[in-house]
């Protein structure tokens, strides 16, 4: 039974035929699992997982003023971003809080192609419509988005289009694939090598089924998508970061371009520069929980005296490590690697330790230097 209040992606019928268990996520009826979260998680780490991420928002921002206008609300330098590249960034409110996190790139010579989170897309698009000035124009793309992730993803895709094997991590292109106009980027949300492929909605099911014909490829639900991104140390907006979190607190300072910090010309620059200079009051860290139950979102973090100093924002078992891992916020004084802390799960205190993220090494594809 489909919940009538939920939207569907162009692949909804395909998920149901595959026997997926469906749940509501970001306003969409989405597959949480097919075979099982653990098996799907492991398959993606060992082979190639296929994800329907069509619930995410896709748009283009075009016009002569597109990049300059887009930059007003993000801390990344997009003026110097070359065609064929994409960059992770943050849509900021005037306080420097994170309205959303996003990928924006130049797959072609027509402005920026931007992918945003499902649950925030309506708000993001409304924000840009209200705030983009000059001739910068937002066009929402009603396309499907398919991700293929894992160590065998590149070989699977090379069989369809050899040029994809030549792309480096965070490169993007607009090209004919499966006989149709696609936007492809070598990126993802699992820590593995792989691609995100934007395809015309009416071609999605054909392309999805074509990719599943390869024995190396299995469909992966949102359950494993979440455990994979957690192991990769990647934050989930609305949980680990939100409109109250700054890039400094969120441990996302890599998204602050040097030139933009120098110019201090983006939303919330004042707060962000102050936090960079003086330190934030809290910072996102990785934790390994050394005993007991998984510490999940909302679990309190305490120091060794038992004083509560922060909260877990996401957590769960790591299938790859066989340990319980979590992300959460603590004051910087407790953020050094190796710091011993406690997490409190259902009233029970358990030993935890601050560890480096990613929890599981990322395996992005870096092109050999020419």
């Amino acid at each position: 039974m489909t919940d009538q209040t939920l939207k569907t992606t162009p692949l909804n019928a395909a998920h149901r035929r595959l026997g997926a268990r469906m749940v509501g996520f970001g306003g969409y009826d989405m597959p949480v699992q097919y075979e099982g979260v653990l098996a799907e998680h492991r398959w993606t780490r060992e082979h190639a997982g296929l994800f329907d991420v069509s619930h995410m928002g896709q748009c283009k921002i075009t016009g002569a003023d597109a990049v300059a206008q887009f930059e007003r609300f993000v801390p990344g330098d997009y003026e110097i971003l070359k065609a064929g590249k994409q960059k992770y960034s943050l849509l900021l409110n005037t306080d420097g809080g994170i309205i959303d996190d996003l990928m924006a790139g130049r797959p072609d010579h027509d402005g920026l192609f931007v992918v945003v989170n499902a649950g925030n897309k309506d708000e993001d698009f409304a924000f840009w419509t209200a705030n983009l000035q000059g001739d910068a124009k937002l066009t929402v793309l009603d396309r499907a988005l398919i991700a293929i992730q894992g160590p065998e993803a590149a070989e699977v895709m090379a069989a369809h289009e050899p040029v994809l094997a030549e792309m480096g991590f965070m490169e993007t292109a607009r090209l004919m694939l499966f006989g149709v106009d696609c936007y492809v980027s070598r990126s993802g949300y699992t820590g593995e090598d792989g691609y995100e492929i934007s395809v015309p909605a009416d071609q999605a099911e054909r392309i999805w089924n074509t990719l599943l014909e390869d024995a190396r490829v299995k469909p992966i639900g949102l359950g494993a998508r979440d455990s994979l991104r957690l192991e990769a140390g990647l934050p989930l907006h609305g949980h680990d970061i939100d409109p109250t979190t700054s890039a400094v607190e969120g441990a996302l300072t890599f998204a602050l371009s040097k030139s933009r910090k120098e110019r201090a010309d983006f939303n919330g620059a004042e707060r962000i520069l102050k936090e960079l200079a003086d330190g934030p009051t809290r910072v996102r860290v990785g934790l390994v929980v050394k005993e007991g139950a998984p510490a999940r979102e909302g679990a309190e973090i305490a120091d060794m005296d038992g004083d509560v100093i922060g909260k877990v924002t996401s957590g769960g078992p790591s299938p790859t490590l066989g340990k319980n891992i979590a992300m959460g916020f603590v004051p910087p004084a407790f953020s050094s690697l190796g710091t011993e802390l406690k997490v409190i799960v259902r009233g029970k205190s358990a030993d935890a330790e601050v560890v480096a993220m990613p929890f599981v090494a990322q395996r992005y594809y870096r092109k050999p230097k020419a």
Binding site: R21, V37, P294, R296, G316, P317
Partner: protein, 121 residues
Amino acid sequence: MKFTKDHEWVSLDGDIATVGISKHAADALGDVVFVEVPEVGKTVSKGDSFAVVESVKAASDVYAPVSGEVIEANDALSTAPETVNSAAEADGWFARIKVSDAAELDALMDQAAYDAFLATL
């Protein structure tokens, strides 16, 4: 074996009830990665949250299907929580409870009634 609408099962032997979660519940949860069983000696009332079962995605409460005193907990689940998936209604039991009022079981569903209940979900 009898079942609750919350998908716990009870098997009574004398005044000792072995309790767990149904195969349906285990399948719905998916991969069980952690089980918190009740402490031996604890007194529970029917409907109390007395154990927790966790999948990769979430933690779920397990409610006591009968009142009484916990006399044994299945500690094997701490190292092999996946037993709940492979044998929910056998080796995947959670605890044994010395029941204080065996009449409480009369209100529970037998297998046929539970199967009929599942068909309505």
